[in-house]
């Protein structure tokens, strides 16, 4: 099976990305609605605690509706960034599906993905710190763990962007060779 062009592995992966994007949009909408509802309505935290215990979540939450809302909004922001990454990947795979990967625009898309991955790590650290402060009486020690794999992936993506930049330059040279 070919890697590029119509009916290739790239087109199959683009289809998978389309499904993932749809699921992420739905999740984002649900999170925003839940955050809005959490702000307006009293939350039965005993029910939430039972649900979380049943699903294996260890943290116990105190009766802080606004903090619960902030948590949901932070999760919505995380999902939003992931959605942005998936959207950039969809555009890249669109060019792979038509068999034309070395477009200059793909360089910017890859860099955007790199910055977004770094942003996800920053959001993760921020959320850990805030939850550690907000639930310091209930939550176990929140330790700052440097995720080397994630940061390695960020660097790899930036290097890939430079590879695509060189590819786009060579493609332009080839196009303008008569």
């Amino acid at each position: 099976m070919r890697a590029l062009g119509p009916g290739s592995v790239s087109s199959l992966l683009k289809l998978v990305l389309d499904v993932i994007a749809f699921a992420l949009w739905a999740s984002l909408a649900l999170l925003l609605v839940a955050a809005f509802v959490a702000l307006l309505l009293p939350v039965d935290l005993d029910l939430w605690r039972r649900i979380m215990e049943d699903t294996g979540v260890r943290m116990a939450m105190q009766a802080r509706g606004p903090v619960f809302t902030v948590g949901l909004l932070a999760l919505a922001a995380y999902v939003g960034v992931v959605l942005y990454i998936v959207h950039r990947l969809q555009r890249i795979f669109q060019t792979l599906t038509i068999g034309d990967p070395f477009r200059p625009r793909n360089v910017f898309r890859l860099r955007a993905i790199g910055f977004s991955l770094a942003g996800l790590e920053v959001i993760n650290y921020g959320a850990r710190m805030v939850s550690g402060w907000a639930f310091r009486d209930q939550v176990e020690d929140v330790r700052f763990n440097l995720n080397l794999t994630a940061w390695f992936a960020v660097l790899v993506v930036f290097v890939l962007a430079e590879v695509f930049r060189e590819g786009a330059r060579l493609r332009q040279e080839a196009d303008l060779t008569i």
């Binding site: 477009r103 200059p104 332009q172 040279e173 303008l176 060779t177 008569i178």
Partner: protein
């Protein structure tokens, strides 16, 4: 680029249209236009060979060099719209 492709002069001398030359040489009209307007970065020997054959000229008749011409390097994002 300081290199100038002097196709127009030769086309007039041979009483040939650009589209006719493109057909004879095996180039598309757009590629011939890129060559004529100086946007081309390189030319293949096979193309040069075909041009000299159809225009009955020497390679030196096709090109001129204008010293002191500024070279503009293009480095824009390309044709895709900003997202």
């Amino acid at each position: 680029m300081a290199i100038r492709v002097q196709l127009d002069r030769l086309l007039v001398a041979r009483r040939m249209s650009p589209s006719e030359l493109a057909d004879r040489v095996g180039l598309s009209a757009s590629n011939l236009s890129i060559l004529k307007t100086g946007e081309a970065r390189a030319i293949r020997f096979t193309t040069l060979d075909a041009l000299c054959r159809e225009l009955d000229c020497q390679p030196g008749d096709l090109f001129g060099y204008e010293s002191g011409s500024a070279e503009v390097l293009a480095d824009d994002p390309g044709e895709d719209e900003l997202e």
